[in-house]
Symmetry: C2
Subunit: 397 residues, 2 copies
Amino acid sequence: MSTAAVARPARQESLRHHNLGLVLRHVVDAARPVSRADVAAATGLTRATVSSLVDRLVEARLVAELPPVAAQRAGRPAVPLVPAGGAVVGVGLEVNVDYLGVRVLDLTGSVLAEEVRHGDFRRSDPAEVLATLAALERAVVGPLRARGTVVTGVALALPGLVDRITGPLRVAPNLGWRDVDVLALLARHEASEGVLAPWLGNEANLAARAEARARRATGPTSFVYVSGEVGIGAAVVLDGAIFPGRHGWSGEIGHMVVDLGSGTTLEALAGQDAILDRAGLPRETPVGALCAAADAGEPRVLQALAVAGRALGVALANVVNIVDVEEVVLGGTHAVLADHLRGPLEEALARHVIVAPWAPVEVVLAQAGAYPALTGAALAVLQAVVDDPVASGVVAG
Amino acid sequence: MSTAAVARPARQESLRHHNLGLVLRHVVDAARPVSRADVAAATGLTRATVSSLVDRLVEARLVAELPPVAAQRAGRPAVPLVPAGGAVVGVGLEVNVDYLGVRVLDLTGSVLAEEVRHGDFRRSDPAEVLATLAALERAVVGPLRARGTVVTGVALALPGLVDRITGPLRVAPNLGWRDVDVLALLARHEASEGVLAPWLGNEANLAARAEARARRATGPTSFVYVSGEVGIGAAVVLDGAIFPGRHGWSGEIGHMVVDLGSGTTLEALAGQDAILDRAGLPRETPVGALCAAADAGEPRVLQALAVAGRALGVALANVVNIVDVEEVVLGGTHAVLADHLRGPLEEALARHVIVAPWAPVEVVLAQAGAYPALTGAALAVLQAVVDDPVASGVVAG
DNA sequence: GCGATAAGTTCAGTCGCATAACAAATGGCT
DNA sequence: AGCCATTTGTTATGCGACTGAACTTATCGC
C-alpha cells in the first residue's frame, strides 16, 4: 500500500544495470584486489556472468586488471581486479566562509588534483565568488581532461539551504547569500567549456558522506555527523546512506531550541562565537588558541566549553531519539575541542537518550580529513556511477 | 562508494518479482478500477507483459476482474481490475494501555473483522495479556481462515521500544513491561494453530503507516505523525515510507529536552497527565471533559493547553529541522485538543522552523480513524505482499 | 612429468520482456 | 444495417541476460 518511491518497469537491461553496479561495488568496496571468482562467490552470480560484466567494466575503464601475482595455492592464478585509478573521476567543489576549493577523486578514492583558496567570503558577491570558483575548476580539471580522464560529474557543497528539487540556494547565512541561482551564475563561465552542471548539496550532508566512506571499514555506518564551523550543521547517515529529507534540508540543528523559556538555540550555546564570547575571548581567536587556553586550565574557557558540551549533548540526544542512530561523529571545530566537550556531551547522551541502556551512543571523531565536504561532493558523483554505471553514461548499454 | 543496503544479484525471476509488485501496486493504489491497458500505459510495460502478470495475480486472488461496463467511447471495452476483496488479508494486533485488539484488512483496505477489548493494562502481566490477545486473534481469524481466506502475515503494535533486529520488547513504560520476549509468549498459544509469528512494531510507527495510507490521495506524504496518548510518541514518514531508524526506535520525542536548565521534557509539558495537573483536574479526567472545560473558557485549562501547544510546537520544530518534512499530523489526544493547541503550535513552528519561509509547515489532523495502529499493523503485512508478491508466498514463482 | 586444483571461458538452455500481428468488441457514420 | 475506426486483450516470434555444465588455462605438489 502507500506507494513509496518512483517505481520503474524492469526490463532485460535492468538486470545488467543492476548487476554491473553490484559487481563494481564489490570491486570498489573491497579492501584488497579481488578475482572474478571472488566476486561471483560474494554476489551469488555465476562466474560466467561475472566475467561478462567485468569485461564491460574494464572496457569502460572503471575496473583494471593487475598482473597476476604468484599464487600460493594450487590452481590457475586469479587475475586481481581493482577499481581503475585516474581514469574516471568525480569533481567536488565547495564555497565556504573562509575558503573555496576543488578536489578531484577517482574510484580508488585517491585525490588526483586539488586546489583550495583561502579568503573571507562573509557577505560576498555570489557572482564574483562563483566566477573565481569556475576559474579554479577550469584550471584544475582542464589538464586532467586533456589527458583523457573522464569526468562523470561535478557536485558543489554550500554552507546553506539548497533545494534539491527546485535548485536555487535559498539562504547561506554565513556567506550572506540569499535566493541565489547558483547554476545560472556558474553556467556563464562554464557552458563554453562543455563542463557539466554541478549538483548542489549542503556542506554538512556532503561532509557526512565523506565520513561514511571513511568509516566504512571500521564499523557501523549509522551516525549523526556534527560539523561545527561558524554555525552548527549536522547530517544523519543511516546504514551508509545520507538521509536527505524532503527537500534536502535535513540536519539543521543549529537553530534547535534547547531552552523553551528563553528560546535559546544550540548555536547560542555551542556555536564558535558563543563559546568565545562566554570564554571572554575575541571572536577572531582561532580554534587552536581556544583549545590551548582550555588545555592551560583557563577557568572561563573551561566553563564555556562545559556549557557548550552539555548543550551539544542534549541537542544530540534529541536527534538520536528522533532518528535512532548508533554513533555521534564530531567534525569541524567540535573535533578539535572534543577532549573538552566529551565529558558533558557523553553524560547528556547517556542521560537523555532513551535507548542508551540497550544501545549506548558512541562519540567518535571524524576521520575524513581536511575539507571533508570537498571529498563528499566528489564521492557523491562517483557513488552515482557505482549505483548505476549505465545510467551515468560510463558503460555502454 | 559506501555500500548502502544489502545488494542481491538480479536474476531473470527478479524481473518478474519486481514487475508483479509494480502491477499490483498500480491496481491497489488506483482510486478506481483500471484496465490492463491502463496499467501498461502507467507502468511503461507492454500490454502483453501486463496481461501475463495480471493473470498470475488473478490466479493468486490478489486481483479480481469486474464485469465489463458499457464503454462510452469506441473500442473493445476494458476489463476493470480491482484489488481482490476478502481473499488475501493482513492481521493487525495491538496491546495498549487501555485496550487490546485485532483487526483484519484485505487488499482493498476494508476491515473484514475486528475485535477490541477494553481494560486497564498498566502494570499488567505480559504472559496473561498475550494469552488473551492470542485467544482473541484465534476467535477472529479462525472463521475467516475456515472460509479459505489467506492470511499473509500478522503484525503486533506495542507502545514501547521493540528491537526490530533482535526481537524482544525492551521496554513499554506505560504497560510496565520490560525485556519481554513477546514472540515466545505468543508462540505458546499459537504454534499449535499453525499461525504465523507476528512482526513486532512500535505503536506510533504503525499508526503513522495507517495515516500515510489515509493521506495517500489528498497530498504530500512526508510528515511527522504525533500520537499523544498517555505518553507522546511520534513517527517520521518520508514520501510515504516510515523512517525506522537503525533499530526501529525512531520518533521517541516524548523525552525530548526542551529546557536545558531544568531538564524538562516534552512529556512534562504536553503529556496528558502534565496538562491535567497544570489545569488542576484529576488525572482520571477523560480527554473529552478536558476539551469541554477548555471550550467553556476555564482559565487554568486554557493556560495549560497554551503551555502544551507551545512546547509541542517547539519540539516539532526541532523535529522538522532535523528530518525536513512538510506536515505535522496530530493524532490521538492531540487531535481532540487540536483547536486549543493549534495557535501556539503553529506560531512556534513558524518561528523556529528554519525553512518555514520557503516551505511552511502545515498542521493537520489525523484521518486514519480509531485505533490507527491496528490498521497500520495490518497494512504493514499487506505492504510486504504488494512490494514483492512472490517473496511473500502469495504468488507462485 | 603428471594429477589435483582453481580461474576463467564457451555454449546450449531457459526465462521473461518487447515487438508486432491478430482477434474481439464496441461506437460512429453513411 | 453494414462498414470502418478505435481500443482492448491475446498470440506468436525474437532477443537479451542469466544459469549450468563442460571445457580450457595455468599453477602447485609430489
